[in-house]
Symmetry: C2
Subunit: 342 residues, 2 copies
Amino acid sequence: MGGATLTPMATPAKRPTIRQIAQETGLSVTAVSYALRGEQMSAATIERVQAKADELGYIADPVARALRGGRTGTIGLLVGSLADFWQQTLAHAIQRELRSHGLHTLLADADGSPAEELALAQRLAAQRVDGLIVAPVGPAGGNWVELAAHLPSVTIGGRLAGAEVVGEVAFDQTTGVGEVLRHLHALGHEHIAVLSWAVDSSPDRPSERAVREQAAILGLRCELVPCAYSLDGSRPLALEVLSRADRPTAVFCLSDSMAYGVLHGCRELGLRVPEDISLVGFDDHPLSRLVDPPLTSVNWSVDRAARSAVGFLVDHLAGEVNERRIVIAPTLSVRASSGPVT
Amino acid sequence: MGGATLTPMATPAKRPTIRQIAQETGLSVTAVSYALRGEQMSAATIERVQAKADELGYIADPVARALRGGRTGTIGLLVGSLADFWQQTLAHAIQRELRSHGLHTLLADADGSPAEELALAQRLAAQRVDGLIVAPVGPAGGNWVELAAHLPSVTIGGRLAGAEVVGEVAFDQTTGVGEVLRHLHALGHEHIAVLSWAVDSSPDRPSERAVREQAAILGLRCELVPCAYSLDGSRPLALEVLSRADRPTAVFCLSDSMAYGVLHGCRELGLRVPEDISLVGFDDHPLSRLVDPPLTSVNWSVDRAARSAVGFLVDHLAGEVNERRIVIAPTLSVRASSGPVT
DNA sequence: ATGAAAGCGCTAACAG
DNA sequence: CTGTTAGCGCTTTCAT
């Protein structure tokens, strides 16, 4: 304990400016500005300026640069909900990837609200981020069109209602959902509760549509149940759904985070997984193989998604025009949480 | 989405400026500036200006404000390693808390390197964040002193080598470690491997010191083993440690993330937990109660930590001077992963 | 190869 | 109450 010195007020930083370097080298600000970026000036001058800059620990002020019209070196990352473990993982991967390109990450969490998401995107734009990577809450409207027209944007796992993006990372949810439902169907399940992320306004989402379509094809009875992310959100709901007389024989959660809550609920109810009820997740969080029982889930390569998204943005910022869309294929990982209906 | 704007791409956003409002209202820029902030001007003018601003969808440019010397409304959040699940949770909690105060989060991940951490802090400072919340990698040196003198900083779970911070959230690791070791001691364990986060330069860390002290008191044989965060980092290490002839009877991981990897390793080796080996984690990630077997761990209130850290910073920025240090007490959650030595 | 000057959008003296 | 005047630190014409 003890020890830490606490100060009442911090003094405004007196970071060295370009002008200081100019004075100390006897050059003009212009000269230094060029020299620092290795342009136009003679090699000798460049070196001299560089030396002085290092000596003073000079770092060009990103704010001044930004105001001037340049770039901030910061990318806005907007995720649907950080309460979701998988999205935490995604955010980490993207942050890391951005950093490897020398870019900063301004992180924002829409917390499940499409309206909030748009508002946050606008605030990020106001902060002058150079680009935006957004994992849309849902295909909700709003004028993303105008926003994306001015701010290079890349989407991950969702669309932005007609907006023109510079890159798009899609997950083949239709196939993913299909594999899960066929898997459960093969195990003899006919009545399945599908927990889907509840958002403020949840229009027709691809994954939900896929559920309906596949259910129809396979002749399954699938109930779509809106559910909050996070353990605390899905646990109570699970208790309700699983306590019903007409209990489904399987629960398919459109996110592992929700499945964890269901797992927790099953324990409280004394239901055995998979003997009494089968459970399947979605997105395959790294810990899903370690929970009890290991969770059957659908895996997408997070690294690939992150690398692609950042790549699209970086390429665009560099003026290159390459591939701008990628569809990531699912891999069903069958584990112990799903078994034959008994 | 009709509105076929024929504007060619790359139209730099033409956000309305304060000057535009000035012209359209016939006032001076200054007047508008004041009016927008509800200062000095007559109520009538303020309203008129406000109306115009709303009409144009005006948002004050944070970059210009920042350059002028004002605040950016952005706080830098620097965590030791986002590869650690618990730190992801912490980052989420802090981001959410900051947002509730209308502040943005600039997220950076030191990835286990103290040097990198300092460098990132400096970049964050250059980005003109209004303050810094940092979960230090370790008590490594470097001139945090100067940095913290200019940038209001709050630490979480660690110190910043003599730097003056405006707030400090400490975890009572000594007690936490003590409880774990006493717990294991009571179960009959005498030889314990302690996995501690391996950082580039890892000087004397409180948790490690606590381990040594408590081990001495209890007469335990504790081996400190440096280990990488993340599943993939600790799994191979676990395989090595657990394959030795002189195998410890318990493994105590100074982070749940590492414990998960050990758990994985145990499975591969066919070791039963806790019959063959007891396992204890640290930090108590929400999923620890769901893994197989449920992991004994030490819990700290993440929300309390996040709320305190942000509170310290916000209070300081508001000029208030309140409590500036908090020590969060541990709660040992004994679950099935730790059992009597057999 | 180098410098002078204009300004990005905003705020804060300092007058009127 | 409202307008004038100066910049914040940097980049970029346009001269020299």
